[in-house]
């Protein structure tokens, strides 16, 4: 029972953390190679985020498109109708660079904070 609650809490915490950086991660995943919507879901899974739903990714990609950070193009598919494939725009590349720098600094501060205040190993206070 306790393990189930702990697992739920961990999943909720993971979702909260992801919420703040998913747009940046999507830009990073598209920076290497263009992808269609559910390919991005697979890439997130492969990157280690676990299952992130398409219902979360597709609206976010739509926002990135609205902001001019990604562009779309139709690409023929061997299995069916042409797909909409997303790629980073120049603005998207610039924004990703800025966001990456900001994230690195932020993560550095967070890491330093939790390292300094972490209890010593074996301390069960």
């Amino acid at each position: 029972m306790w393990r189930m609650i702990a697992t739920d809490e961990a999943a909720e915490r993971q979702a909260q953390l992801l919420r703040g950086c998913l747009d940046m991660c999507l830009l990073a995943l598209l920076a290497g190679e263009p992808a269609h919507g559910y390919e991005l879901v697979r890439r997130l899974d492969t990157a280690g985020f676990g299952p992130v739903s398409y219902g979360t990714v597709y609206p976010l990609v739509t926002r990135l498109h609205r902001l001019g950070l990604v562009a779309d193009m139709r690409q023929p598919s061997p299995t069916g109708p042409p797909r909409k494939v997303y790629r980073l725009t120049d603005t998207g590349h610039q924004r990703l660079t800025a966001w990456r720098r900001q994230w690195t600094e932020f993560a550095g501060v967070v890491n330093a904070t939790i390292d300094v205040h972490a209890p010593p190993p074996g301390d069960k206070r």
Partner: protein
């Protein structure tokens, strides 16, 4: 039609309902639906169903998509519209009463009806209630149209109020008369409150429905 095709249609119908409820403009609904259909069909060709992609809450997905895509939405503002319509109706009723009372004095002084003239009761009741309804509807519609002229889709709301309010009042007056009859036309606070509540419910219900209709048919 294939199972996948009908599943896509079903998801798109749910999404469209949600977008209508949110007041998304028609051209944006069409654009969102076209893109989503293309995505779902491409995924279907790879063996993924809409349920695989969107889970069990396509309405929630549609809400999130409308929010993230930044489409234009009209806020319902039911409270403001009901308040302004109610105030407009009251003002029109008071002004109408003053006008009719004044005209009555003028007509009584100016004309004499021949003795023996009988006005059928249904005609008298029809003119009385019809006149009151016309004044109230005009007051409510004009006040909403003028005082809230900057609210998105208010012109459509006012047009639909003009359509819905008269039949709503007609039905409410009949229902109130039936309720009054069931209570032996007693002039007790309970009986009068009941009849007034029926008429007010019809007024506010039809006004809210008109607003909702104007948003869901946004286009």
């Amino acid at each position: 039609m294939t199972t996948s095709g009908s599943a896509i249609d079903s998801v798109l119908a749910t999404a469209d309902r949600e977008w209508r409820t949110l007041g998304v403009h028609r051209r944006d609904r069409v654009s969102l639906a076209t893109d989503l259909r293309a995505e779902l069909e491409a995924a279907g060709a790879d063996g993924l169903s809409p349920a695989d992609l969107l889970g069990a809450d396509p309405a929630g997905f549609a809400r999130s998509l409308a929010e993230e895509s930044g489409v234009e939405r009209a806020a319902p503002r039911y409270g403001t519209i009901l308040g302004v319509a109610g105030a407009g109706a009251v003002v029109a009723l008071v002004a109408g009463y003053a006008l009719v009372a004044g005209l009555h004095q003028v007509f009584v002084a100016a004309f004499d009806l021949p003795r023996g003239t009988r006005v059928p009761i249904w005609l008298a009741a029809g003119v009385f209630y019809g006149g009151v309804v016309a004044v109230v509807v005009a007051g409510a519609v004009l006040s909403v149209r003028i005082a809230l002229r900057d609210v998105p889709r208010i012109r459509h709301t006012a047009a639909r109020m003009t359509l819905l309010l008269p039949p709503a009042f007609g039905a409410a007056i009949l229902a109130a008369a039936a309720a009054g009859r069931a209570m032996d036309f007693a002039l007790t606070p309970a009986a009068i409150s009941t009849e007034a509540a029926i008429v007010l419910a019809a007024f506010f219900g039809a006004t809210a429905l008109a607003r909702r209709w104007s948003l869901t048919a946004a286009g």
